[in-house]
Symmetry: C2
Subunit: 92 residues, 2 copies
Protein backbone atom coordinates (compact mmCIF):
# COMPACT_ATOMS: atom_id res chain seq x y z
CA UNK A 1 0.00 0.00 0.00
CA UNK A 2 1.34 3.42 -0.92
CA UNK A 3 1.29 5.64 2.15
CA UNK A 4 0.96 9.39 1.80
CA UNK A 5 2.29 11.91 4.31
CA UNK A 6 -0.95 13.95 4.35
CA UNK A 7 0.46 17.41 5.12
CA UNK A 8 3.33 17.13 2.68
CA UNK A 9 0.95 15.81 0.01
CA UNK A 10 -1.56 18.61 0.62
CA UNK A 11 1.20 21.16 0.32
CA UNK A 12 2.28 19.67 -3.02
CA UNK A 13 -1.37 19.60 -4.20
CA UNK A 14 -1.72 23.31 -3.48
CA UNK A 15 1.59 24.37 -4.98
CA UNK A 16 1.09 22.38 -8.19
CA UNK A 17 -2.51 23.69 -8.42
CA UNK A 18 -1.19 27.24 -8.12
CA UNK A 19 1.27 26.53 -10.95
CA UNK A 20 -1.41 25.17 -13.35
CA UNK A 21 -2.44 28.67 -14.40
CA UNK A 22 -0.20 30.58 -16.87
CA UNK A 23 -1.07 33.97 -15.35
CA UNK A 24 0.00 32.79 -11.91
CA UNK A 25 3.23 31.36 -13.33
CA UNK A 26 3.89 34.66 -15.12
CA UNK A 27 3.33 36.62 -11.88
CA UNK A 28 5.85 34.42 -10.08
CA UNK A 29 8.35 34.85 -12.93
CA UNK A 30 7.87 38.62 -12.82
CA UNK A 31 8.50 38.68 -9.07
CA UNK A 32 11.82 36.81 -9.36
CA UNK A 33 13.31 40.23 -10.23
CA UNK A 34 12.11 41.72 -6.92
CA UNK A 35 8.97 43.09 -5.22
CA UNK A 36 6.44 44.93 -7.42
CA UNK A 37 3.52 47.26 -6.61
CA UNK A 38 0.19 45.65 -7.49
CA UNK A 39 -0.71 48.44 -9.95
CA UNK A 40 2.52 47.92 -11.88
CA UNK A 41 2.11 44.14 -11.74
CA UNK A 42 -1.47 44.35 -13.06
CA UNK A 43 -0.42 46.60 -15.95
CA UNK A 44 1.65 43.73 -17.37
CA UNK A 45 -1.43 41.51 -17.67
CA UNK A 46 -4.32 42.00 -20.07
CA UNK A 47 -6.97 41.00 -17.55
CA UNK A 48 -9.79 42.51 -15.52
CA UNK A 49 -8.51 43.57 -12.10
CA UNK A 50 -10.89 41.34 -10.06
CA UNK A 51 -9.71 38.24 -11.96
CA UNK A 52 -6.12 39.28 -11.56
CA UNK A 53 -6.66 39.87 -7.83
CA UNK A 54 -8.07 36.33 -7.50
CA UNK A 55 -4.88 34.92 -8.99
CA UNK A 56 -2.83 36.94 -6.50
CA UNK A 57 -5.01 35.60 -3.68
CA UNK A 58 -4.39 31.99 -4.75
CA UNK A 59 -0.66 32.64 -4.76
CA UNK A 60 -0.75 34.35 -1.37
CA UNK A 61 -2.94 31.64 0.21
CA UNK A 62 -0.41 28.96 -0.63
CA UNK A 63 2.46 31.14 0.55
CA UNK A 64 4.15 31.67 -2.82
CA UNK A 65 3.84 35.45 -2.56
CA UNK A 66 3.40 37.87 0.30
CA UNK A 67 1.83 41.32 0.08
CA UNK A 68 2.39 44.37 2.24
CA UNK A 69 0.58 47.67 2.21
CA UNK A 70 2.52 50.89 2.78
CA UNK A 71 0.21 53.89 2.62
CA UNK A 72 -1.93 53.35 -0.48
CA UNK A 73 0.51 51.04 -2.24
CA UNK A 74 0.28 47.26 -1.93
CA UNK A 75 3.47 45.48 -2.93
CA UNK A 76 3.92 41.79 -3.71
CA UNK A 77 7.10 39.82 -3.19
CA UNK A 78 8.01 36.25 -4.14
CA UNK A 79 8.34 33.72 -1.31
CA UNK A 80 10.28 30.89 -2.95
CA UNK A 81 10.35 28.61 0.12
CA UNK A 82 7.05 26.74 -0.61
CA UNK A 83 8.40 25.76 -4.04
CA UNK A 84 11.20 23.69 -2.53
CA UNK A 85 9.22 20.48 -1.81
CA UNK A 86 7.81 20.66 -5.36
CA UNK A 87 11.32 21.04 -6.78
CA UNK A 88 12.51 18.12 -4.68
CA UNK A 89 9.58 16.03 -5.91
CA UNK A 90 10.37 16.88 -9.55
CA UNK A 91 14.05 16.02 -9.05
CA UNK A 92 13.41 12.48 -7.78
CA UNK B 1 2.55 43.21 -21.75
CA UNK B 2 3.54 39.69 -20.75
CA UNK B 3 3.55 37.48 -23.82
CA UNK B 4 2.91 33.77 -23.53
CA UNK B 5 4.23 31.17 -25.94
CA UNK B 6 0.86 29.38 -26.26
CA UNK B 7 2.07 25.81 -26.91
CA UNK B 8 4.74 25.87 -24.24
CA UNK B 9 2.27 27.37 -21.78
CA UNK B 10 -0.40 24.76 -22.59
CA UNK B 11 2.13 22.00 -22.08
CA UNK B 12 3.06 23.43 -18.67
CA UNK B 13 -0.66 23.78 -17.79
CA UNK B 14 -1.23 20.09 -18.54
CA UNK B 15 1.86 18.79 -16.78
CA UNK B 16 1.26 20.82 -13.61
CA UNK B 17 -2.42 19.80 -13.66
CA UNK B 18 -1.35 16.14 -13.87
CA UNK B 19 0.90 16.70 -10.86
CA UNK B 20 -1.85 18.25 -8.68
CA UNK B 21 -3.21 14.81 -7.74
CA UNK B 22 -1.32 12.77 -5.10
CA UNK B 23 -2.30 9.43 -6.69
CA UNK B 24 -0.86 10.53 -10.03
CA UNK B 25 2.32 11.73 -8.35
CA UNK B 26 2.59 8.40 -6.52
CA UNK B 27 2.15 6.48 -9.81
CA UNK B 28 4.97 8.49 -11.39
CA UNK B 29 7.19 7.89 -8.35
CA UNK B 30 6.46 4.16 -8.50
CA UNK B 31 7.37 4.05 -12.19
CA UNK B 32 10.78 5.67 -11.63
CA UNK B 33 11.95 2.16 -10.65
CA UNK B 34 10.93 0.77 -14.05
CA UNK B 35 7.84 -0.39 -16.01
CA UNK B 36 5.03 -2.06 -14.03
CA UNK B 37 2.02 -4.17 -15.08
CA UNK B 38 -1.23 -2.33 -14.46
CA UNK B 39 -2.55 -5.04 -12.11
CA UNK B 40 0.55 -4.75 -9.90
CA UNK B 41 0.41 -0.95 -10.07
CA UNK B 42 -3.27 -0.91 -9.06
CA UNK B 43 -2.61 -3.21 -6.07
CA UNK B 44 -0.47 -0.50 -4.50
CA UNK B 45 -3.39 1.95 -4.43
CA UNK B 46 -6.48 1.67 -2.27
CA UNK B 47 -8.85 2.87 -4.98
CA UNK B 48 -11.62 1.55 -7.24
CA UNK B 49 -10.14 0.40 -10.53
CA UNK B 50 -12.19 2.80 -12.76
CA UNK B 51 -10.94 5.81 -10.77
CA UNK B 52 -7.40 4.49 -10.89
CA UNK B 53 -7.68 3.94 -14.66
CA UNK B 54 -8.80 7.57 -15.09
CA UNK B 55 -5.64 8.75 -13.34
CA UNK B 56 -3.55 6.58 -15.67
CA UNK B 57 -5.40 8.08 -18.65
CA UNK B 58 -4.62 11.63 -17.52
CA UNK B 59 -0.94 10.71 -17.21
CA UNK B 60 -0.89 9.01 -20.59
CA UNK B 61 -2.74 11.87 -22.34
CA UNK B 62 -0.10 14.36 -21.29
CA UNK B 63 2.69 11.98 -22.24
CA UNK B 64 4.06 11.34 -18.75
CA UNK B 65 3.50 7.57 -19.04
CA UNK B 66 3.13 5.19 -21.94
CA UNK B 67 1.29 1.86 -21.85
CA UNK B 68 1.83 -1.21 -23.96
CA UNK B 69 -0.21 -4.38 -24.12
CA UNK B 70 1.54 -7.73 -24.52
CA UNK B 71 -1.03 -10.55 -24.58
CA UNK B 72 -3.37 -9.85 -21.66
CA UNK B 73 -0.92 -7.73 -19.70
CA UNK B 74 -0.83 -3.94 -20.00
CA UNK B 75 2.39 -2.40 -18.74
CA UNK B 76 3.04 1.25 -17.92
CA UNK B 77 6.37 3.01 -18.15
CA UNK B 78 7.46 6.48 -17.14
CA UNK B 79 8.21 8.97 -19.92
CA UNK B 80 10.22 11.67 -18.13
CA UNK B 81 10.69 13.92 -21.17
CA UNK B 82 7.48 16.02 -20.71
CA UNK B 83 8.61 16.92 -17.17
CA UNK B 84 11.67 18.78 -18.44
CA UNK B 85 9.99 22.12 -19.32
CA UNK B 86 8.29 22.05 -15.90
CA UNK B 87 11.63 21.42 -14.18
CA UNK B 88 13.19 24.25 -16.17
CA UNK B 89 10.33 26.54 -15.19
CA UNK B 90 10.76 25.65 -11.50
CA UNK B 91 14.51 26.26 -11.69
CA UNK B 92 14.23 29.82 -12.98
Amino acid sequence: MVRHMPNQQKHLDRVFRALVDPTRRAVLSRLTAGPVAVSELARAFDMALPSFAQHLDVLEQCGLVRSRKAGRVRTYRLMPHPLRPAKRWMAQ
